[in-house]
Each structure stands twice: as structure tokens, then as C-alpha cells.
């Protein structure tokens, strides 16, 4: 299984431990990730908010580069996923828009043809690798760990982009449970973490995050597992900020699902990777180290 690997910007820049974990588990599960060279920003929501056509053209350029590699794109970040998937869908379906965008891409010697698909890493594990193979790779199960899964909005919303797929949130739950942990239900599971409002309205962003954390705590979670790097930052850093502002403590360590799988598959995190977590993850590591 070979994919054009679109790492995005936030994960390489702020969460190298997430990317490193993906690079560690991929080969063990028979996935080959070919780095995409000379890509550009996926053009997330902030850029889409500024100008529709600029977004489509930038996203299309990335799609064209993968078309040249003749590989489907795999992303890690929910925002890259949404941006590329939505652009790919619009450009495949709408000839008028496709012509308009190709007219821009001509300047950089590219043409959108609509030959590839866009996937997110969790769906690749679930659909292409298969749950059985993931289960077989687990060496140190997290029995008894109660995880609040934070899928992130754009893993499965809007539903029209994901129609007919039994993936997204369900796939993530099953992947997390493949490690022996329990994915607990909680009220605000499908709600946003508030992250997109960072830099625009920090105070409201934090209030949204707090609702989420309250609901996780009420459901008796031990820790949080995310796909989205924005949720990851928001919920990890957000707990520190909430503690500072309203003196409320949650003590919910945040892991990306790739880190969770990596540990469960028997590969330790390095010291520097453990230290990147603002809420200490020792209590999670103790579960497997006791074995």
C-alpha cells in the first residue's frame, strides 16, 4: 500500500512526535508513505474565509502533484483532509469550476484531471490495512484505560462528503478499542474543540473547549485521544489555560491516536516526545510499563 504523504504544516511544525509515530507504525502495517515534494499549504478554513478561488487553486495544486505521482493522498490533519477532499469533490463534479481553476494552474504547468482520492490516515488503517491486522500488531494492550475519543469535526462532517462510508468516527473508535482501551461515550463527543477560533477570539474558543472537557470528565474519562492536531493542541494547552483562568483542573492527558497505537504496538516514545505533552502522560505509560 503506497500513498502520497501530505504531512500538512501544523504537525511537522508543532507536533513532530505525532508525525514520528505515524512514520514508526506505517511500515509495520505495510503502508509506504511517499513524501510529497514542493507542496503548499492545504489552504485551511482561514484562507477559505478570505477568498474562495485562491483556496481552490492552492488545494488543486496539491491534488495535481499527487496525480503526477499516480498515488492517492493520505493526510494526518483533519483540516488538510477537509480542504483537499472538498476541493477534490468540487473539482471532479463541476466542470465550470474545474476550467476556472485549470486556467489559473496553467501558469504553474499543472492541470487538474481528477484521478486520485483523498484519505485520512485513520481511514487508511481501518479500510485499507484492516482492523484485524491492526489488532494482531498490538503487543501491549491498554486494558482498562477509559478514553474520550476526540474525532475532530472534519473527520466526518459535513456528512455529504462522507456519504456511504463506514469510516470516520466509527473507524476511529474501533481502532482505539483495538488497543484494548475503551472508547467511552460522552455528550459533547461530536462537538468542536473551539480551536478554529484561536487567534480570532481566544476567550470564546476556551469556553467551547471547556464544555468539551467538562463533558469528558463527567463521563469518567482517563485520557483523550485525537486525530486532529488542532484538537490536540487546543485540549492539551487549553487545560493549562483553563486552570490558570478559572482554577479548574481536569488532568486528562492528550495523545494522538498514532502515539497510542505506537505504544500499544510495543514501541516506546522517546523522552523528548513525552516532554512535548503539557499534561503529563505518565499515568498512561504506567499502564503498559507495568506489563
Amino acid at each position: 500500500m503506497k500513498y502520497a504523504f501530505f504531512a500538512g504544516c501544523l504537525i511537522p511544525a508543532r507536533e513532530p512526535q505525532y508525525e514520528n509515530s505515524v512514520q514508526k507504525i506505517a511500515p509495520k502495517l505495510g503502508i509506504e508513505l511517499v513524501a510529497m515534494k514542493g507542496v503548499n499549504c492545504c489552504a485551511p478554513f482561514s484562507i477559505q474565509s478570505l477568498d474562495h478561488t485562491s483556496w481552490l487553486a492552492l488545494a488543486a495544486r496539491n491534488l495535481c502533484l499527487a496525480e503526477k505521482m499516480r498515488l492517492n493522498i493520505v493526510t494526518l490533519c483533519n483540516d488538510c483532509y477537509e480542504s483537499l477532499l472538498m476541493a477534490n469533490t468540487i473539482l471532479k463534479e463541476n466542470k465550470e469550476t474545474r476550467d476556472e481553476v485549470n486556467n489559473i494552474l496553467v501558469d504553474v504547468d499543472l492541470e487538474f484531471k481528477g484521478k486520485i482520492d483523498v484519505k485520512i490516515f485513520s481511514d487508511v488503517l481501518y479500510e485499507d490495512v484492516g482492523l484485524e491486522k491492526v489488532k494482531n500488531a498490538i503487543k501491549r494492550p491498554f486494558n482498562g484505560l477509559r478514553i474520550a475519543v476526540q474525532p475532530g469535526c472534519h473527520l466526518s462532517k459535513p456528512k455529504r462528503l462522507h456519504f456511504g462510508q463506514r469510516m470516520g468516527v466509527l473507524a476511529l473508535d474501533e481502532l482505539v478499542e483495538a488497543t484494548g482501551a475503551t472508547s467511552i461515550p460522552y455528550e459533547r463527543k461530536e462537538a468542536c474543540c473551539g480551536g478554529p477560533l484561536r487567534g480570532i477570539n481566544d476567550e470564546v474558543a476556551l469556553r467551547v473547549a471547556k464544555q468539551k472537557l467538562d463533558s469528558m470528565k463527567a463521563a469518567g474519562a482517563d485520557s483523550i485521544v485525537t486525530v486532529c492536531p488542532f484538537c490536540y493542541l487546543e485540549l492539551d494547552m487549553g487545560q493549562i489555560e483553563i486552570k490558570r483562568h478559572v482554577k479548574e483542573e481536569y488532568d486528562l492527558p492528550v495523545l494522538s491516536f498514532a502515539e497510542l497505537l505506537r505504544i500499544a504496538m510495543g514501541m516506546n516514545l522517546e523522552d523528548w516526545e513525552i516532554k512535548t505533552h503539557r499534561i503529563p502522560i505518565t499515568k498512561i505509560l504506567n499502564i503498559v510499563e507495568a506489563k
Binding site: 504544516c9 501544523l10 511537522p12 511544525a13 508543532r14 513532530p16 508525525e19 514520528n20 512514520q23 513524501a35 510529497m36 515534494k37 514542493g38 507542496v39 503548499n40 499549504c41 489552504a43 485551511p44 478554513f45 482561514s46 484562507i47 477559505q48 474565509s49 478570505l50 477568498d51 474562495h52 478561488t53 485562491s54 487553486a57 492552492l58 495544486r61 469550476t97 489559473i104 494552474l105 501558469d107 504553474v108 469535526c153 472534519h154 462532517k157 459535513p158 456528512k159 455529504r160 459533547r188 461530536e190 462537538a191 468542536c192 473551539g194 480551536g195 478554529p196 477560533l197 484561536r198 487567534g199 480570532i200 477570539n201 470564546v204 469556553r207 467551547v208 464544555q211 522517546e270 523528548w272
Partner: protein, 155 residues
């Protein structure tokens, strides 16, 4: 209303029946009264142009798309928010946090760049270099879409 409906993401406003399901499912409306998607749709329908295209109102939306999935009319409220933000931006109103990202996109080809610390970390721990970016191609595209002119209007 038609100014919004005629943009690529704004058509949904024509379908709105003001039921309010968007507001009741909105995570931001739960925590602040300043954001009310149903009311914002109403203001668009009524043609209250300068109130809608204000500095703050269009920017409360998280684009989480919960409203898109729940709207019984296919009114695409979250998409309409993109339409009105695009229109607001053309009048030079861009929140500072977004403008920083836009400038970074034009300078570096991406909105978030690695800090020096992260680069040192990556090298020290044997990760590949940060994924390469073709900044020239990005600038060429953004000049053609006049994105550079657009953001230069921002304060």
C-alpha cells in the same frame, strides 16, 4: 440576499426557513449570545448589508459544519458564513489573526511555520526536514487570483 446567494458558497441562504436548528446545534451559540446563526441568516435575508458585513459577526463561526448536517432545508449555514466572510474581506475587514496567516501563506507557502526550536528538535531526533514547499508557485497562483491585493487592504 442575492449578493450573498450569488457567491460560490452562499446559495444556501435562499433555502432558509428560519427554524433555528442551526443555532440550537451551534457550539459557539451555546457559550455566547453574540453568535446566532439563525439571526445572521435573517439579517442576510432582510438585506441588512452593513450589519452583516461587520468586523466581528461573520467570524464567530468555527466551520464545524454541525449546522450543515442538521439543517432540514439544505440551507448550508456554515457555507453561507464563508460567503459573507469573503464579502467582508473584500471591504478590507480582516481579523488580525487571519491576516497573519494570510501573510505567512504568501511569504512561506504555508500558514504555520516551524519555530527554530522545532527545527532543531527535528534535526536532533532524526526526523526528516520539514516537508518542502514551492513558495514561488504559491505566489504565482495568489497573484493571479489577486489574493495579494486582497490582503493588502487588511488593516
Amino acid at each position: 440576499m442575492h449578493e450573498v446567494a450569488n457567491t460560490p458558497r452562499g446559495r444556501g441562504v435562499l433555502a432558509c426557513i428560519q427554524c433555528g436548528r442551526c443555532t440550537s446545534s451551534c457550539p459557539v451559540a451555546r457559550v455566547t449570545e453574540e453568535h446566532n446563526p439563525r439571526k445572521l441568516m435573517e439579517m442576510i435575508i432582510l438585506g441588512l448589508r452593513s450589519d452583516v458585513l461587520s468586523e466581528r459577526l461573520p467570524w464567530y463561526c468555527l466551520s464545524c459544519f454541525t449546522c450543515l448536517d442538521r439543517c432540514p432545508q439544505g440551507g448550508d449555514v456554515g457555507e453561507v458564513m464563508f460567503a459573507i466572510r469573503n464579502l467582508t474581506v473584500r471591504e478590507g475587514k480582516i481579523p488580525e489573526g487571519v491576516l497573519i496567516q494570510a501573510k505567512s501563506l504568501f511569504e512561506n507557502g504555508r500558514v504555520v511555520t516551524a519555530s527554530r526550536m522545532a527545527l532543531i528538535q527535528r534535526e536532533k531526533y532524526g526526523l526528516n526536514e520539514e516537508p518542502s514547499v514551492d513558495v514561488e508557485a504559491v505566489r504565482q497562483i495568489l497573484k493571479k487570483t489577486r489574493f495579494d491585493k486582497l490582503i493588502s487592504k487588511g488593516k
